[in-house]
């Protein structure tokens, strides 16, 4: 079956909403149904009246449907301008959809926007969303009060978050004096002020140093498994992070969901083979070649010092790895290390982009 045909079948599966999902069986936290958004031409009638040039309306989203289950970390990846931010803003009630619906914990994002806002926290990398002349504590206290927290409860929650995000020494510093990374931690802390059951995270580790980013990823993971669990819709350009964190990933391109599945299945869908590299001791290249040439494809064997490096290709999840391991074991060789070269999400994303461009060129 060709890659394009597989992708097509995958698309149909997504439409049926029964795509395999790590979190299947759990309640739905966010349900997005046939969502479309076309940004209208601003003041169109006035521009027509004065015969001003009118740009065509921008179609930001087209028939987007998926669900985020309770306690699931759902990744949304795509190029700049693909529609990720618009989708996040619609879920956050900041932008109204043209068609379709979004419900958060059963509440409609247009009809029950206050109820929805009570149940979501949004953390973006946008630094301008805070008051730069207020301190970290003052900023958080302001937003805590808007969420309706009483002063004592708000103080306790802010202390907790300041400790959790390692902002203790900066609590009395003005927001404008913080580094970009610390500003990002503040955004995350604010999103969690009211303990929302749904978090929308836009590039949550973009400006963090590697250690802080790793801790942030651990925190995100712990939130999803906490009691009660937090459902997370994560948009990111860091594909390694998405792969590490997300149970399912949707690839969005030009406002359309091109694929939706677990990262492993998306990779497999893109490239059904993977390269395996095994380092063994107690064998030699000629012996290994004789033993494995008939069993494995694209076999390459090299001797290096006291070890032998064996590389071969296999279909993802076939049993040839096991066969190779058994054969090597029978010769008395011992396996020292093992590595796999798989398709990355980046390659998967690129392939969809190429498909899209190819389709446009044909048109």
């Amino acid at each position: 079956m060709s890659s394009a045909a597989i992708k097509e079948e995958q698309g149909a599966a997504n439409q049926r909403e029964d795509a395999p999902c790590a979190a299947t069986g759990r309640a739905v936290a966010v349900a997005i149904k046939q969502l479309s958004k076309t940004y209208p031409v601003s003041l169109e009638r006035l521009k027509k009246l004065f015969r001003r040039p009118i740009k065509p309306p921008v179609e930001a989203l087209r028939d987007v449907s998926f669900e985020v289950k309770e306690g699931e970390i759902f990744g949304l990846i795509g190029r700049n301008g693909a529609g990720k931010t618009t989708l996040t803003k619609i879920v956050a009630t900041l932008v109204q959809p043209t068609r379709g619906s979004v419900s958060v914990k059963g509440y409609d994002s247009v009809r029950d926007e206050e109820e929805v806002r009570n149940r979501i926290g949004l953390a973006t990398a946008e630094e301008r969303s805070f008051y730069w002349r207020l301190t970290v504590e003052q900023n958080l206290m302001f937003f805590a009060r808007l969420y309706g927290l009483r002063d004592t409860g708000a103080r306790r929650r802010i202390d907790e978050l300041i400790e959790r995000f390692e902002l203790g020494e900066l609590a009395r510093r003005r927001f404008g004096e913080l580094s970009t990374g610390n500003k990002q931690r503040m955004a995350f802390a604010r999103a969690m002020l009211a303990n929302p059951p749904v978090l929308l995270l836009d590039e949550p580790t973009r400006s963090l140093d590697p250690l802080a980013a790793a801790r942030m990823r651990a925190l995100i993971q712990s939130l999803a498994t906490a009691t009660p669990p937090v459902s997370i819709l994560l948009t990111s350009h860091n594909l390694v992070e998405v792969e590490e964190l997300c149970a399912r990933v949707a690839i969005i391109s030009r406002g359309h969901i091109r694929a939706l599945d677990t990262p492993a299945r998306l990779r497999a869908l893109h490239k059904q083979t993977e390269r395996i590299q095994i380092k063994v001791r107690g064998a030699n290249a000629d012996g290994v070649k004789r033993l494995l040439t008939d069993v494995l494809d694209d076999l390459e064997v090299k001797d290096s010092d006291e070890t032998t490096l064996i590389t071969f290709a296999r279909e993802t999840d076939d049993d040839r790895l096991d066969a190779a391991a058994r054969a090597l074991h029978e010769t008395g060789a011992s396996i020292i290390s093992f590595d796999t070269e798989r398709a990355t999400l980046l390659e998967v994303m690129e392939s969809y982009e190429q498909d899209e461009q190819g389709g446009e060129e044909k048109r």
Binding site: Y39, P40, S42, L43, A60, T86, K89, A92, T93, L94, V95, Q96, T98, E114, E115, R117, N118, I120, L122, E126, R128, S129, F130, Y131, W132, R133, L134, Q138, M141, F142, F143, R145, L146, Y147, G148, R150, R190
Partner: protein
């Protein structure tokens, strides 16, 4: 009861935030106080030109300094009522904080009340300073029913706040270039009798020109406050401007809230909430 407490808590959040932001610019606060003192002092010296001049045709203007101080103090309050919401929204848009505020479970009426609350606290203080400096340094005294004067102040401010909501709706959709601001901002001082009696407009500029003052709510507010504080009139004598203001309020309040709701929905449809 709970929702009332929640509203008060949110209003307090805005007041505390704006207070903290204001005190982070201390110099501005002292300069503003100084500018009020300078304005009152300047008016005192101009009023000396008219010493001994009594024109019975304009009883509110027998003591021009008292009339000007009242005019400026009340105008300051009125302009706050009219402009604070639009200014707050424009500020939040330019700062980039509007989305983060609208992301909290705060409803539109709360947002309207809360984001202008600090401006009213500030305006009350600065308006009080006009009267205080007049009394302390220039022996300006007032008579009459202070409660009734306050009622006029409150009512006129509410009417102007409705126009302020319309103005904020323009800020939400058109971002800049608000016709209410131009008309009321520049028009009130000229047509509402802040610096001279509105009757002079009819005498010198004709009936058409003078009728502009009749459609401006500040005209009725200022007239009512001066009648109470300077002429010492009671409720029965100021019924006409009071009823006119109530009529303005009854028409403008629901209309402005409806327009504002539509403006926010439109900005959400266009995705332009944070654009400015």
């Amino acid at each position: 009861m709970t929702s009332m407490l929640l509203l008060l808590r949110r209003v307090r959040a805005f007041v505390v935030r704006d207070f903290l932001l204001a005190v982070s610019y201390r110099m501005e606060f002292f300069l503003r106080m100084l500018s009020i003192l300078i304005a009152v002092t300047t008016l005192f010296f101009i009023s000396r030109i008219f010493e001994g001049f009594v024109n019975t045709e304009y009883p509110q203007w027998r003591n021009p300094l008292a009339a000007w101080i009242t005019g400026l103090a009340v105008l300051n309050y009125f302009m706050t009522g009219f402009s604070s919401l639009a200014t707050a929204i424009r500020q939040e848009q330019t700062q980039g904080t509007l989305e983060s505020v609208l992301l909290t479970p705060i409803n539109m009426p709360t947002m309207i009340i809360a984001s202008s609350a600090w401006d009213f606290v500030q305006a009350t203080f600065y308006s009080f300073l006009y009267f205080f400096f007049g009394w302390l340094f220039f022996d300006v005294h007032y008579q009459g029913n202070y409660l009734l004067a306050f009622m006029f102040l409150l009512l006129t401010t509410l009417v102007l706040a409705c126009l302020g909501i319309l103005s904020a709706s323009f800020a939400m959709v058109f971002k800049r270039g608000d016709p209410f601001g131009i008309f009321l901002g520049t028009g009130s001082a000229l047509f509402s009798g802040v610096f001279f009696p509105t009757q002079l407009l009819r005498e010198y500029a004709g009936q058409g020109f003078a009728s502009v003052s009749r459609i401006l709510p500040p005209t009725y507010g200022l007239d009512g406050i001066r009648r109470v504080l300077i002429e010492g009139q009671g409720l029965s004598q100021v019924r006409e401007p009071l009823l006119t203001l109530l009529l303005f309020l009854a028409v403008l309040l629901p209309f402005s809230l409806w327009v504002f709701g539509r403006a926010v929905r439109r900005a959400k449809r266009e995705g332009s909430l944070i654009q400015y």
